[in-house]
């Protein structure tokens, strides 16, 4: 709470060590309509995700939810501060609609255990991270089936989902407060290294999975 480098409302600061730009919006910032609509949309997405979830894939979803849960602890140094990994692109590309329940669960546990974000903003935060994941799923899927485009598709998935999440986060803040452009610039700029890193992580993971365990990606079954 010591710093005012960035607009104070977005940023949770790790006490006395260094600034960490979180992808999570904290409690007490967003207006009530945003909170309610975010919650409703997340509830709908989670319902769809759970309904579409096949029995066989439950464990895979859980493992990726756990990955997402832990990824936020990996800090990427950036100037005087750092940002953390999000990995929603990886979840989106692999899980599709199941990213909603996976991200919701992971964020809930992050809120409880790490005090990232909060219970009230859980809906909005989940929406911000799950919707880009879903978009990337639909965008990247067709390319994934073709081995030639697979690495590129993975990179785009990882990169774009963080980018879109930053934009959604800025949008949520702007709808409650003011100045979308200024906020968006800061959030997107801060997450640029994360986008690149996650692009590569997603690229390698997807290529690896396609080689070792292609059934996780469901490349054949989904035409």
């Amino acid at each position: 709470m010591n710093e005012k480098y960035f607009p104070p409302q977005i940023i949770r600061i790790e006490i006395s060590q260094h600034k960490v730009v979180y992808m999570h919006i904290s409690e007490g910032i967003l207006s009530v309509p945003i909170l309610i609509s975010g919650g409703a949309l997340t509830a709908a997405g989670t319902a769809i995700g759970l309904k579409k979830l096949d029995y066989d894939r439950i464990m895979g979803v859980a493992i990726l939810a756990a990955t997402f849960f832990v990824a936020s602890l990996i800090h990427v140094p950036l100037g005087p501060g750092s940002v953390h990994l999000v990995l929603n692109g990886l979840l989106g590309v692999v899980l599709g609609w199941a990213s909603f329940p996976a991200i919701l669960t992971a964020l809930l546990l992050q809120a409880i255990f790490f005090q990232y974000g909060g219970i009230v903003v859980l809906g909005v935060n989940t929406f911000n991270m799950a919707v880009p994941a879903l978009l990337c799923f639909y965008l990247v899927r067709p390319w994934l089936a073709r081995p030639k485009f697979r690495p590129l598709a993975g990179f785009v998935g990882g990169f774009l989902s963080v980018f879109l999440s930053s934009l959604l986060m800025a949008l949520a803040l702007a709808l409650s407060d003011s100045g979308f452009l200024a906020t968006a610039k800061i959030v997107v700029a801060a997450h640029l290294p994360v986008m690149i890193i996650e692009g590569f992580i997603t690229m390698f993971t997807v290529s690896f999975l396609a080689r070792v365990k292609p059934e996780i990606l469901q490349l054949e079954s989904r035409s």
Binding site: N2, Q17, F113
Partner: protein, 208 residues
């Protein structure tokens, strides 16, 4: 054989991730904390591994205007102390104490005015002569008591309390610095797997 290969690859990946985790999350951290001890401000610094940050530059700024007030260096134990600047005392400035070890490691600590000023009235007297307070108090105790003596005694007690409480303050500061613990992380993963189990149970077909 293929399965064996897969398992070994997965295992290597897992090991790599676990080796990276602490080093990534803890790199570039230098801890700093400071507290008031009478008229001086005492602070300690350490790297995340516990190694003291020796002979590092300490910059004291006004937190609001970022105007530098003074600089000093840490000693061999990573400790530093400085007199509270008169300017800060008068303006009741919140102090931002920054350590810069010169290799890209930087930490800071915010010391709020209320923390080092104490209650205003007694403090203005104590600035005059902090060290002899105890002696004066003892001397005056032998003579007849008066209100100023009470004042002195109060200050002596406060000073002693500051000294006794400083390790506790430090512990509190350190505990605030802690990030998520291993228990938190493992607990979270456990919860996720447990939830998956519940969903699997709900979705399972009891007939077979």
């Amino acid at each position: 054989m293929l399965i064996l290969k897969k398992i070994s690859i997965t295992f290597c990946l897992l090991v790599a991730v676990f080796c990276l985790l602490p080093s990534i999350s803890q790199a570039h951290k230098v801890r700093i904390f400071a507290y008031a001890e009478g008229n001086t401000i005492v602070g300690e610094t350490a790297f995340s591994g516990g190694r003291a940050a020796k002979d590092s530059l300490i910059i004291v700024q006004d937190a609001a205007s970022a105007k530098p007030l003074l600089t000093c260096r840490t000693d061999d134990h990573g400790q530093f102390r400085f007199q509270i600047p008169e300017e800060a005392r008068k303006g009741q400035l919140n102090l931002r104490i920054i350590i810069n070890t010169g290799e890209g490691h930087r930490g800071e600590w915010l010391l709020e005015a209320a923390e080092y000023l104490g209650d205003g009235e007694g403090e203005s007297v104590s600035t005059r002569d902090q060290k002899s307070v105890a002696e004066v108090a003892l001397a005056s105790m032998t003579t007849k008591p008066s209100t100023t003596d009470e004042e002195l005694i109060r200050r002596v007690v406060e000073e002693a309390m500051d000294k006794k409480l400083s390790p506790i303050k430090r512990m509190l500061a350190e505990s605030q610095n802690k990030g998520p613990s291993l228990q938190d992380i493992l607990g979270g993963i456990g919860y996720i797997l447990g939830l998956a189990g519940i969903i699997a149970y709900i979705k399972s077909n009891p007939k077979g």
